[in-house]
């Protein structure tokens, strides 16, 4: 099996094909701390693409509750268990993190889904460790949360207070998910017809619908379960990263690359998407003023989802700060503690970059940060907080300014009924 560099694992790993990297890579950061599961992103995906015959199921974004939920149900617990059974007790990280050694999260010594397949699966054509979810596991995107019943016999009305929604009596959080457009896609590795390809210009992973015969090997292989078989077209589909927008061919874009619909619609402002430059070995090229590079490689507050699976996903998450660390370390790797510490105590630049989220629908390629005077000093829950009137300026692909954000002194608007009061 050819060896490829997986910088997230801090080592080389076996992959089905030789390494090939795009000119730029589609990537995104989701800030879980802000997500309230309003499902606006989910509906944006659905309403954008399911408008014609044959497109009824072109709907790939979802938001699920963790640790209970999942779409399909328990997708992550199942693949983690399969890996553990393939390599009992050895699925561990070692080596301290060292950016100098190209190991920002340390080194993963366990087996990836590709390596485990090579050692445990037969015949040789089985390239990726995975499973095919049964239909029941797909039937409720948010099982027990997506269909609160109204009164018996009362149609088309939710319960007025929503009190029949389930109660989680412990910690939980919402995990928004789209396809990670992985650098080493498991779906692509598994397809016997080579119908899946990674676009050389932006790294978006697509399924050629003319080539696909619906064998569902990609559905079985994708550990994130973002390849979905459609019975009505007898082919498999997956998230297309709203590529007309990313290409800048959307009529609203003026030829500038735009963020996907799920990103643009996010009312919680948890999402930022971009295109990052790559080195020859697939690692991110230094691009200090790219906000995604800053969040992932400088501030290191955004971490890949289940990096130990080995696909080098290009979706990154700012972990929820209230969730027990062992669970988060399993989900996001060893960088969790440092990420949360930095996020809870943000420096001036991080605070400024966080203000770039959802201020524009166009992709931000570069930002500038201008320091301003101090406007507040105090404490919050025992931690010192100092705020400055800093300015962060965002630039698009053509180098022109998109917008700028500054801090202003508070503006108190007098209520209308007291408009003439002193």
């Amino acid at each position: 099996m050819p060896q490829v560099n997986n910088w997230q694992l801090g080592r080389d790993m076996g992959y089905v094909y030789d390494a090939k990297y795009p000119a730029r890579q589609f990537a995104f950061v989701f800030n879980i701390n802000r997500c309230i599961a309003c499902q606006t992103c989910t509906m944006a995906c659905k309403s954008t693409w399911t408008f014609s015959k044959g497109q009824e199921h072109m709907w790939w974004a979802n938001v699920e509750s963790k640790p209970y939920g999942g779409y399909p149900q328990s997708w992550d617990a199942k693949i983690l268990r399969m890996l553990e059974e393939a390599n009992p007790g050895e699925q561990r990280w070692s080596e301290p993190a060292s950016a100098d050694n190209g190991q920002p999260y340390g080194q993963y010594d366990g087996q990836t889904i590709f390596e485990a397949a090579e050692q445990t699966l037969t015949p040789d054509s089985a390239r990726v460790l995975g499973y095919l979810p049964p239909d029941e596991e797909w039937n409720s995107p948010n099982i027990y949360e997506d269909n609160p019943v109204g009164g018996r016999g009362v149609r088309d009305r939710l319960h007025e207070t929503g009190e029949q929604l389930p109660i989680h009596n412990t910690w939980f959080f919402y995990l928004a998910r789209i396809c990670n457009h992985c650098s080493y896609p498991a779906c692509l590795a598994a397809c016997p017809r080579k119908a899946i390809y990674k676009r050389p210009e932006d790294g978006i992973v697509l399924i050629d619908q003319e080539q696909c015969r619906g064998y569902r090997k990609c559905v079985e292989a994708c550990p994130y379960k973002k390849a979905m078989y459609r019975g009505n077209t007898r082919t498999t589909e997956k998230c297309i990263a709203c590529y007309p927008r990313v290409e800048g061919t959307d009529p609203e874009s003026d030829g500038q690359p735009m963020e996907t619909r799920c990103m643009a619609s996010c009312i919680g402002q948890i999402r930022m998407q971009g295109l990052v430059q790559l080195n020859d070995d697939g690692s991110w090229a230094e691009d200090r003023q790219n906000p995604l590079y800053y969040l992932v490689h400088v501030a290191k507050v955004a971490l890949p989802l289940y990096p130990q699976l080995g696909t080098q996903p290009n979706g990154y998450y700012i972990p929820p700060r209230w969730v027990p660390r062992p669970y988060l370390r399993q989900m996001f790797g060893p960088g969790v503690d440092e990420a949360i510490e930095r996020y809870v105590n943000p420096d001036r630049e991080l605070l400024a970059v966080l203000q770039l989220f959802r201020r524009s629908n166009k992709i931000i390629f570069r930002y500038e940060f201008e320091e301003g005077p101090q406007v507040y000093e105090g404490t919050l829950r025992g931690r010192p907080v100092t705020l400055y009137n800093d300015t962060v300026i965002a630039f698009g692909s053509d180098g022109n300014e998109l917008f700028r954000t500054t801090v202003e002194e508070p503006l108190h608007v007098r209520p209308e009924q007291h408009a003439n009061s002193i």
């Binding site: 800030n31 309003c38 640790p67 029941e136 009190e163 929604l165 910690w171 003026d254 705020l387 202003e408």
Partner: protein
């Protein structure tokens, strides 16, 4: 949710498992939401409305467990810092003749392009 109690052999029934949690996690979750939405410019009434809506299960669960008084205290703490300032976003000037300059795109034009 189903109307009736599930059949004993229904494979779709979730089996509840106690997940070890920190007693402070509800307070931390409430503080996280309060901080985030205060940073986004939400006021006290708006943030408390988020907690009171049962459809935002995370925030609402924190309210159910901590109570109105404690959640209000957490929100006021956040606003005590992040409410001191507000963010001003200034879009770059629109280039003459650009799509943005021409105003909103009508849906008919968008559909025409897709066809």
């Amino acid at each position: 949710m189903p109307y009736d109690e599930p059949e004993p052999d229904d494979p779709q029934v979730l089996v509840g498992v106690t997940v070890p949690g920190d007693a402070e996690s509800a307070r931390e979750m409430a503080a996280a939401f309060a901080d985030e939405f205060a940073r986004m410019g939400f006021g006290r009434r708006q943030i408390l409305a988020l907690f009171r809506s049962p459809r935002y299960a995370g925030a609402h669960d924190a309210l159910a467990r901590l109570g109105d008084v404690e959640v209000a205290r957490v929100v006021d703490e956040s606003l005590g810092v992040w409410g001191q300032v507000r963010l001003a976003v200034e879009d770059a000037p629109t280039a003459p003749g650009s799509a943005a300059d021409a105003g909103p795109v009508d849906s008919g034009r968008f559909l025409k392009v897709l066809k």
